[in-house]
Symmetry: C2
Subunit: 181 residues, 2 copies
């Protein structure tokens, strides 16, 4: 049905070139459901998601996202909206978890995705008609990938992982990672 | 190797009861690698992760997390630390994406996990020796599940999804979701 979870996580890339073909509604439904089922603090679900498919709205959204002209080429752009009234402290984290569920579900189904963090919140909210009291946390593009970017370099294990206390070296089976890639 | 991505996303539950068995280091390595490969704004990777396995440290951490006494029973607790100096605007979102990658990798490998959002940041940072200028964003427990909680209720599709503009109804293939569950 969809790819192996570990392969999905390790093979995901940020895709900014898309074919014009559509994501079938059936697949989009599964992708959205992946977000709906995300965990949230006290199950507050302080979120709303706008799935943008209209070419004109996508174009205006791309302009509101610092003129990223590739954005309208993705079949769907999902805007992750937070409801601060429900969870002032956690809405941004909860929306992010749900969006990453969607990104990985889409990747598992074979689509390309790209997180979009650069945007003018006021302009993007206006384009999408998002009420004043809500927040736009982040967006992701989803579509049929027309490129397979190389993996970007990552910081080494020793720099970003500690055992038990910050800065204490962790002894890991690096072999394990080579096996799964 | 690991479960189907969609199944992983939809079958994940917040597990708070664990068996004392250990997560093999080889699997822990894969789980951490899943976080290391997460996307981040401008590939800034504004993160560090402390994998806590020492029983005494886990116990102190559980106390710092609002006395959640179940926490030390999980074999590993991963603390997601943000580096604001690298990315003031995005560190919390980037750490969250990486932690959700780890949660889903662990779920895909058959482990139980639970996001931990309730904690006293100052106390938890002290327990883990996290430098003053860094931020503790969130934590997750990982271990051998000793329970299979029922799915918590979720808000209906119509309440949390719009098409093109906030509040506009989206017509989805609900059948698709029933098929995959």
């Amino acid at each position: 049905m969809s790819k192996d979870t570990i392969a999905t996580v390790l093979e995901r890339r940020s895709v900014r070139k898309y074919n014009p073909a559509h994501v079938p509604t059936e697949d989009l439904t599964i992708i959205l459901e992946a977000g709906r089922q995300a965990p949230s603090a006290h199950n507050g679900q302080p979120w709303h998601f706008v799935a943008v498919r209209d070419p004109e709205v996508k174009k205006a959204l791309g302009i509101a996202c610092n003129n990223q002209i590739w954005i309208p080429h993705a079949d769907v752009v999902i805007a992750g909206v937070g409801l601060p009234r429900l969870s002032e402290r956690w809405f941004a984290i909860d929306v992010t978890i749900a969006l990453q569920n969607m990104v990985l579900a889409a990747t598992g189904l074979g689509y390309g995705t790209c997180w979009i963090g650069a945007f003018d919140e006021a302009k993007a909210k206006q384009v999408l008609g998002i009420p004043e009291e809500l927040r736009l946390v982040a967006l992701t593009a989803i579509g049929i990938a027309a490129e397979r970017p190389a993996a970007k370099p990552r910081k080494p294990f020793a720099e970003i992982f500690s055992l038990d206390r910050f800065g204490a070296a962790i002894d890991l089976e690096r072999r394990a990672v080579r096996t799964v890639r």
